[in-house]
């Protein structure tokens, strides 16, 4: 009791103090409504994001969005979870794409974007959003759950100077995995120590590979249709690709550069000739690479029917949170606060803001309109290859059940499991088949655990 009173008193003191400071110089007629916004982007991206926020604040006087950097994506996520449990959740939290399944199942903790827009009467033209972007954050029947923002996809970067040295055409990057293997052999013969590497092994070599070939990562449309999904990593294509990677590594054609983004530095430093990485790596390559390079779409196996299709996205989206577990129907916020969140979302959805973000950062434009805007401004002529990621996301028409994205609870853990099992295969501790089956078994245990916890929450 006493604790609660103290907390309330402290909160009240803060509430009085903060606007007081802001108000003094501005002398606005009424204090703007404050919207707390937690994000997980380090510099320089975080600064660019906070610039968008301050532009929004300057564009009107009724709302003030307060951005706050909370560490890496997992740290931001656990911070938001802890804040919710103590009834002090931020209005908006940025959550990476692999946290989507967990957030979607979070019930009372979140306010779905479609509900927010309906209750505040603000409209956003989601039909204009790129299907793989909006689809990743929608329910199976097309309701928007979170606000898409910084989205990337995986692409292939290649070193044109090294291609030339190996007698390969620098303007004809390999299209299929068969071509990639042939190119890697030539590069190795030309004395290049690292013909190819990959960042984000689980995202790019597993999730993207399966989506591009229209193969399931899990049943129930990769989890979009229900929490009872089961992993399907032991499928023929996945085992074949894993087998190839292990074989290529043994022959010195492929180098494993570590988990997540650990291999990012191997391409711009001029060490590896071909690198699979996030399209967001582009900015760093532009800054650091001292050689001619090119961008191409992710390769595919030409003998797989229906390939290639669209790739899936990475990056993050914005989730709207209720204040705490006991906040009731209002979510613990005033109508003005909800309205402010919706207005902020409308602002960041504008093609001008989105196009600028895309050009400044290397993330893909999330709307067709911003893509068009950027193209008309001549950006892609001046920066060849910057549009590869978008074209790849739109490849092969409408997304299928296998290429819409991933909607699995506990997926942060599953991604780690996949990377661990891949590492064991690269260490020659187990075969590709064993690695993928072990990953299936361990990941299924995570899924069942998540299903059990959330089935109880739904009761």
């Amino acid at each position: 009791m006493l604790r609660r009173t103290l907390a309330a008193a402290a909160a009240a003191a803060l509430a009085f103090a903060a606007p007081g400071q802001a108000q003094a110089p501005a002398a606005a007629p009424a204090a703007p409504v404050e919207i707390q916004f937690w994000h997980g982007l380090p510099q320089p991206l975080g600064g660019l994001l906070e610039k968008i926020v301050s532009d929004f604040n300057a564009s009107q006087q009724r709302y003030r969005v307060v951005p706050s950097f909370r560490g890496s994506y997992p740290e931001t996520m656990v911070g938001a979870v802890a804040a919710f449990r103590s009834s002090s959740a931020p209005h908006i939290v940025q959550m990476f794409e692999v946290g989507t399944g967990t957030m979607m199942a979070a019930g009372r903790a979140i306010r779905p974007v479609h509900e927010l827009l309906a209750s505040t009467g603000v409209s956003i033209d989601f039909a204009d959003y790129l299907p793989p972007v909006r689809g990743y954050y929608q329910t199976a029947d097309g309701r928007q759950m979170s606000m898409p923002f910084n989205s990337s996809t995986a692409v292939m970067f290649y070193n044109k100077d090294m291609f030339q040295r190996a007698g390969l055409d620098p303007n004809a990057p390999p299209k299929t995995w068969q071509d990639v293997e042939a190119a890697a052999r030539k590069l190795k013969e030309a004395g290049i120590a690292c013909p190819m590497t990959t960042s984000w092994p689980a995202w790019i070599q597993v999730e993207e590979l399966l989506a591009i070939h229209n193969q399931p990562l899990a049943t129930q449309a990769n989890g979009f249709r229900g929490m009872n999904a089961e992993m399907r990593l032991g499928g023929a294509l996945m085992v074949r690709h894993m087998q190839n990677l292990v074989e290529w590594q043994r022959q010195g054609l492929f180098r494993y550069g570590g988990r997540d983004a650990a291999a990012d530095g191997l391409f711009p430093s001029g060490e590896c000739a071909i690198a699979f990485g996030s399209s967001g790596l582009r900015a760093r390559i532009v800054r650091e690479a001292k050689f001619q390079w090119g961008t191409a779409m992710l390769p595919y196996y030409s003998d797989v029917q229906g390939a290639p299709r669209n790739s899936i996205i990475g990056g993050a989206s914005f989730w709207v949170m209720n204040k705490g577990p006991n906040a009731g129907a209002t979510g613990g916020r005033t109508d003005a606060e909800w309205r402010g969140v919706a207005e902020f979302f409308r602002y960041i959805s504008s093609p001008e803001v989105d196009a600028k973000w895309h050009q400044d950062t290397g993330y893909v434009p999330v709307r067709r309109a911003s893509y068009e805007l950027t193209r008309r401004a001549g950006y892609y002529t001046a920066n060849p290859g910057a549009d590869v990621a978008i074209e790849e996301l739109l490849r092969g028409g409408a997304a299928t059940d296998n290429s819409r994205g991933i909607r699995l609870g506990g997926y942060v853990e599953i991604r780690t499991i996949i990377q661990e099992e891949m590492e064991k295969a690269f260490q020659a501790g187990q075969s590709a088949q064993q690695a993928m089956q072990a990953a299936d078994t361990r990941a299924n245990a995570v899924l069942r655990n998540f299903e059990r916890q959330n089935a109880r929450a739904a009761q």
Partner: protein
């Protein structure tokens, strides 16, 4: 007992104890109690549904091969770190205790690494041993040694052990040096007159006289290896490759923060807590009495 008369009433001593008790209660006892409570629950991440499951979490943790693997890793890791850090520190302390030119300079230099934060020291080691950007890592590969700690579990373990032990050497060094200086010169001189060579003097006189220091440091080093090496592992290997360098404390972090599995994470930290309590009890009950003062 006779000290009791210093305070006449009970109120003043209580009042004087209060700040210390409050700090202990708020920052140590309360969180520990919360961890114990959480370890008995199954909960979704957001705390929307809670089920009391008794000791189920503990049963699951102990039966989990991944936890057993982490326990085995921790045993190898902690004992190696303690032995390496103590051995190197003792050697350095004995050398620095000799009457040599620049004695003060050496001593000061040897103490410095203690001021480096674990994560920073890990990054320094990364720059030395990374297979493609590290100075030594590249040299090893150029010399034909297949050095890649990102894929070789044993090399990864070796690296985190060296990096963690290096950090602790300074701390041990200070205590050993103080211990050495506390050994009466007369004892050593007597041994020398009896004809004991330096090595023999060290093992039969110096080392036994240092045993209280050594034992105290052993406990401190084990606790360090168990709990304070998180930053080193996080920055260098993140528990990989596979699960080769995942220690118990790292697993607590991964399950709690990354995987949001609070019940299991809490159960694991309670087990760790029990281990430290046991370790401390061993120290106070048995060894403090037995060691040679």
């Amino acid at each position: 007992m006779d000290r009791k008369v210093i305070f006449k009433g009970r109120a003043l001593p209580m009042l004087l104890l209060l700040p210390q008790l409050a700090v202990t209660l708020v920052f140590f006892i309360w969180p520990a109690a919360m961890a114990v409570w959480q370890s008995l629950l199954q909960q979704d991440a957001f705390g929307l549904s809670t089920e009391f499951v008794g000791l189920d979490n503990f049963a699951e943790v102990v039966a989990d091969p991944a936890w057993r693997g982490a326990a085995a890793n921790t045993a190898v890791f902690a004992s190696s770190v303690a032995v390496l850090a103590l051995g190197v520190a003792l050697f350095l302390a004995v050398q620095a205790d000799k009457a040599i030119r620049g004695q003060r300079f050496y001593r000061t230099m040897l103490i410095w690494p203690y001021a480096v934060a674990p994560a920073i020291s890990a990054v320094l080691w990364l720059f030395l041993f990374h297979p493609s950007i590290g100075l030594i890592g590249r040299a090893l590969n150029a010399a034909g040694v297949m050095w890649d700690y990102q894929l070789n579990g044993n090399q990864a373990m070796l690296l985190v052990i060296i990096a963690s032990a290096w950090k602790q050497v300074s701390y041990n060094f200070i205590f050993f040096l103080a211990g050495l200086q506390g050994i009466p010169k007369s004892v050593l001189e007597a041994a020398a007159i009896d004809g004991a060579r330096p090595l023999r003097r060290f093992w039969t006189v110096v080392f036994p006289l240092l045993s209280p220091t050594t034992f105290f440091l052993l406990v401190v080093n084990l606790v360090y290896a168990f709990f304070d090496t998180f930053g080193v592992i996080h920055a260098l290997t993140r528990g990989g490759p596979g699960k080769a360098t995942e220690t118990l404390i790292y697993k607590v972090y991964v399950d709690g923060v990354d995987n949001l599995n609070l019940g299991s994470s809490a159960a694991q930290s309670v087990l760790l807590m029990l281990f430290v309590i046991a370790l401390t009890m061993v120290q106070f009950r048995f060894v403090e009495r037995r060691v040679h003062y």
